[in-house]
Symmetry: C2
Subunit: 233 residues, 2 copies
DNA sequence: TAAGATAATATGCATGCACATATTAAGGTG
DNA sequence: CACCTTAATATGTGCATGCATATTATCTTA
C-alpha cells in the first residue's frame, strides 16, 4: 500500500477509518493487532497505537489488552459540549453583557436537598439569584447555592460586580461535576424575569461541581426563549 | 519532589493538575517547558508531553509551539455527551423497547430546507415519522429526512422492523454532523403522541449527519415529558 | 527606523526498544 | 470433568533520541 498518508499517526488513522467505514472491517470484527498494522504501514508500533487510541477515544473501536481491538457495534455518537462562562458566551455572539444580582441570602440548606448537595445541616449556604443580559435583553436566569466551606471567600465577594458564575470559575477549582439539561415551562415569575409569555418552553441546565467529596456549588440556569445549545459531532 | 506519582503519565498529570488548582501556576501564566518538567520529575520528555497533551485535550492548558504552555484563563467546562441508538438507551434503563412507524412518504425536499439540507431540488427524499416506546409508554417522537443518494438501500428497507435510527447507524457511516438541543411546547398533535398535556415543555434534539459534503439524514427527536439529558464533567 | 532574513526555541511527532499488565488459551491435577 | 496453575499474547506505557514545525526573538539591510 505505502500511501503518502502513512508515517503520520493522523494519516494512519484516516486509513483505518476508511476501512471501518467501507466495511472492510465490519462492526464487531477484530482488526489486525498493532504489530501487524505497523509492519503493513512500515511504521513503528507506537504510531499505530496513537492512531488506534484516537479511534478508541472517539468510540469507534473497542480495545482490550490481550483481547485485541475490534470495531464498535454501534458507534456511539459522542458530542463535546463546551460550556463557557456566560459573559464569554454572550460576548462571543457579538452582544454586550451585563448581569444583575436579584437576591442574596444566607441560610441552611433545605433538608430536601441534602441528598444532592451534602453539606452540614446547620451550615449556612449562600443563595444567589442572578439575571444575565445580552444587549440589555434577558438571556438567562440563574439560581445558585454556594457552599462557603468550599469557596472560602465567597461570603465577602460583591456578586453584583462580578457574577458568581465567573468568580467561581476563577476561584473555586473543581475536580468534577455533573450536568443535566431539561425543559421547563415558564411560570408567571419566570416569564416576567425572562420577558416571555407564560407557558413558553425554556431550556434549563442544572450543574453541581465538587472538589473531591465536597460540593462547591449547585446552579440552575434557565435560558430565555429561543435558546439552542449547539455542537458538532 | 520525586513522589510515587512520578514516572507514570497519569501521575504527572495529577501533579500538574494540583499545581494548577492550587494556583501555584495561575491562569494565564506560562508553565515550565517540557524539558524542564521532565528533568524535575526525572522522566522522559515524552511522558511529560503525554500528561500535558491530556490536560490540553480537556481544555485546562493551552499549548502552542515555541510559545510554550500556559494555564487557560477560564477553563471551559467540557462535557461529553454520548448519544446512543434509542433502543440501547432504553434497554440500558432496564426497560423494554419497541417502535412504531407512523408515516413514510417520498417527496422532494421543501425549498425552505435546502439551506440546511443541500440536495438536488427535484430528488425525492424519504420522510419518516416514528414513535419510540419504553415499556409500552411513549419515549420519543421522531421526524426524519433521509437522502436516498447517501443511504443507498434506504428505499427498500422496512423501517417498521428496524428503526431508521438503528439502520442508519449500521449502514450509513457519517464523517461529521451537527447537533442542537432546544425546548418545545407540546402542541395538540405532539401531546397526543407522547401522552402528555398540551403545553408541556419537552426536550428536543435536532441532528444532521454528513458523508463529506453530502447530507445523509436530518432528524428531529422530541422526548416525552420528564426526560433529562445527563452527563458528567 | 521599518521591513525582511535568520537564528533560537518549545512543542509535535516518529522510531526502536524494553517491560508492565490484563486477559485468554493451554496444560495439568484431583 | 471441573478447577487451578501456567504460559502466551495484545495492548499500555516508559525511555532516549532525532528530526519537523510553528512561532518568537534577533540581527541585517535598505
Amino acid at each position: 500500500m505505502a500511501l503518502s498518508e502513512t508515517n503520520s499517526w493522523t494519516g494512519i488513522r484516516e486509513i483505518l477509518l476508511r476501512r471501518i467505514n467501507d466495511r472492510e472491517w465490519s462492526p464487531g470484527e477484530q482488526i489486525p493487532h498493532e504489530a501487524a498494522l505497523a509492519e503493513e504501514f512500515g511504521c513503528a508500533r507506537a504510531t499505530v497505537n496513537r492512531a488506534l487510541r484516537d479511534l478508541a477515544d472517539s468510540g469507534l473501536v473497542i480495545r482490550k489488552r490481550r483481547a485485541g481491538t475490534r470495531v464498535a457495534q454501534s458507534p456511539p455518537q459522542r458530542a463535546t459540549l463546551t460550556i463557557q462562562v456566560i459573559r464569554e458566551e454572550v460576548e462571543a455572539l457579538g452582544r454586550s453583557y451585563r448581569h444583575s444580582l436579584l437576591g442574596r441570602t444566607e441560610k441552611p440548606l433545605p433538608p430536601a436537598l441534602h441528598g444532592a448537595f451534602p453539606v452540614a445541616p446547620d451550615a449556612d449556604q449562600l443563595f444567589l439569584t442572578t439575571l444575565h443580559f445580552a444587549d440589555e435583553r434577558p438571556y438567562a436566569y440563574e439560581e445558585r447555592t454556594i457552599n462557603p466551606d468550599a469557596a472560602l471567600d465567597a461570603r465577602s465577594v460583591d456578586f453584583s460586580k462580578i457574577s458568581a458564575n465567573e468568580w467561581l470559575v476563577h476561584n473555586a477549582p473543581y475536580s468534577h461535576g455533573d450536568l443535566a439539561f431539561f425543559p421547563v415551562s415558564a411560570d408567571e415569575r419566570l416569564s416576567q424575569k425572562l420577558d416571555t409569555a407564560p407557558g413558553t418552553a425554556l431550556f434549563a441546565m442544572e450543574r453541581t461541581t465538587w472538589a473531591g467529596e465536597t460540593p462547591i456549588t449547585h446552579v440552575r440556569m434557565i435560558f430565555a426563549a429561543g435558546y439552542r445549545m449547539r455542537t458538532g459531532i
